[in-house]
Symmetry: C3
């Protein structure tokens, strides 16, 4: 359950335009590391931040049980925590950690610079919207296509595939799969590579890579929200979602 | 000689706008399976359809000897057969089977959702237009690029490469290579994955993936036809085609 | 140190619009081959051309010590040499050879049709601009993305990665890695594949593949030059470049 990458671009644009955090890295883990040297933990109920100002890196942990749902409250706390770090010049990178990443959780991971996944079949990653009878938004699609290419994205999105670690690595959804106990240390090694590059050059390069995708989202944001609300409110779609939840319950029970 | 995928998008747009068939799957085989349970075969001279209404799947076989040329007659019959299935709510998927897929045959395969190829060196797949001294249309190029990426598409199109099974799998032109006798059963297993997804979600997702490519074809369709006719009528191009056919004859003779 | 590919598109557009050379192939080597049969060498101080009119191929060697810097003088000589070959109907292909290809050298390689790299850790290839504190222009980015895909290009550009041979092959930056003494012969075999295709079909196909990228460069050329000059003239950027050069010196010393 480990994923290392820098949160940038689409996901930030979604939350708030104009993010300035030089580099945010995403680490995926459930085992919380005991706060680093001189770390003063902060954060809200749902997002725990362990800053290591000396290293210029903060580790951010999602704590929204049972499944880290991306509720409005959670996303608001996430944005506030990222803004705090952005406004503090002593931080140049962030490692985000989580325990599972279907749908929106996968998008957060894809928005980062590098992804590390723990080698445990419990941790799958993917955009499984069609399995629920709904459709991934175009900006989820664009971001997935940027990461794994058009053909793999088409198959993954049509079938709503959730990839276990080995397959996620193979298709390019994650950059590394490591034993669970090495997730945190691997994330720290990975982020060091990004921090070895002059910030201004890396940021402008990243903006160049993601500009088209981010601009498309910004331009069509309002229309996309309206489409989604109208789609999700339909009786037939609500029934489709209920069927999916019912099947989930039956699996567990 | 097996290929499984759902015919959608470009190839349908070419034939007739507004196709509604939920899922068409393409299986590539020469060995005709004896009609399934309760199947009432229909179809024309050149396209044989073996419907299995119970399973919601039809198997469609190309019978246009000697090489399944995509003549106007053949394409018309193909469209009529697909429309029949689209208008019959008991069908949700189609498996197309053929024996070879250079040029236009490759495009039909690429337009499907999944491709299975029999592990037999006789069955090659690719867009070999340059070998004949002609140029693949832009919408063949777009579809190939969507499937195997820009670099591999550039090399394949410049050299007019026909890929034998192992290479086709490696470059991503097909999704599976199986022994010849397992083509049909593999196609049925594959299409079951697509049919496990709610139709509306899968269809909207597919349309989202292929919209840009299909729109570009529709917009430029008339200009493309005129360009092609004017190009193919040139003396120099006709001579180039004759040279290629002559070489083919010499190989056989 | 060998790379085989045909110089086309972006790099030519940069230098001069309207290039007509049917096929230019790029071979990367330091070991100069003793002039071929009946070769009359020509070329300038910095670009040595060994034409083999019988085969229709010329080998072009970069001789701009110590590191084949792409100075105005060098690029001018390169263009003049290519034009000479373009205007001579007996030539259909060019093999370019060089000894190293960071930054601009990498773009020259990417602009070719095929790339061969000698299996020697001394020869790396990549766009390492961010390491110097500068940013690869958008048309470097477009060309890299066409070659290795969006995700790999983003990581490579952000980190300014220089790939050693095995990694360059893995990521798709080069098409073949061979022992140093086989670079030249491999390049000749590779270019023969391209020359087996009718020139008009191959050229039109190549133009179709690269048109979008080349048009974008042509349209934004003046703005890009102005942006670059203004960026590179900044004090902070000049200091960043000085730091990089200082580190290079310290490494050597």
């Amino acid at each position: 359950m480990a994923l290392v990458a820098a949160v940038r671009g689409p996901v930030r644009v979604l939350l708030r335009a104009g993010a300035r955090l030089p580099g945010a890295a995403l680490g995926w883990t459930e085992r919380a590391a005991g706060g680093g040297d001189g770390a003063r933990r902060f954060g809200s109920q749902r997002v725990l931040v362990e800053p290591d100002a000396g290293a210029g890196v903060a580790v951010m942990k999602f704590k929204n049980p049972p499944v880290n749902s991306l509720s409005l409250e959670f996303l608001t706390e996430l944005v506030i925590s990222l803004e705090k770090l952005e406004n503090d010049k002593s931080f140049r990178g962030v490692i985000l950690t989580s325990g599972a990443c279907p749908a929106g959780g996968c998008l957060v991971a894809l928005s980062c610079d590098y992804r590390i996944l723990a080698d445990n079949p419990r941790y799958c990653i993917g955009l499984n919207e069609t399995q629920l009878g709904i459709i991934a938004p175009f900006w989820f699609k664009d971001t997935l296509e940027n990461t794994i290419g058009h053909r793999a994205a088409e198959r993954a999105l049509q079938l709503g595939l959730l990839f276990p670690p080995a397959e996620a690595l193979q298709v390019g959804l994650v950059d590394q799969v490591v034993p669970e106990e090495q997730v945190q240390s691997t994330a720290l090694s990975a982020i060091a590579q990004w921090m070895a590059i002059p910030d201004h050059a890396r940021q402008l390069t990243k903006a160049m890579m993601r500009k088209a995708t981010a601009s498309r989202l910004i331009t069509q944001r309002d229309a996309d929200v309206q489409n989604f609300v109208s789609f999700i409110s339909k009786d037939s779609i609500q029934k489709s979602l209920q069927r999916y939840l019912q099947r989930l319950k039956e699996k567990k029970g």
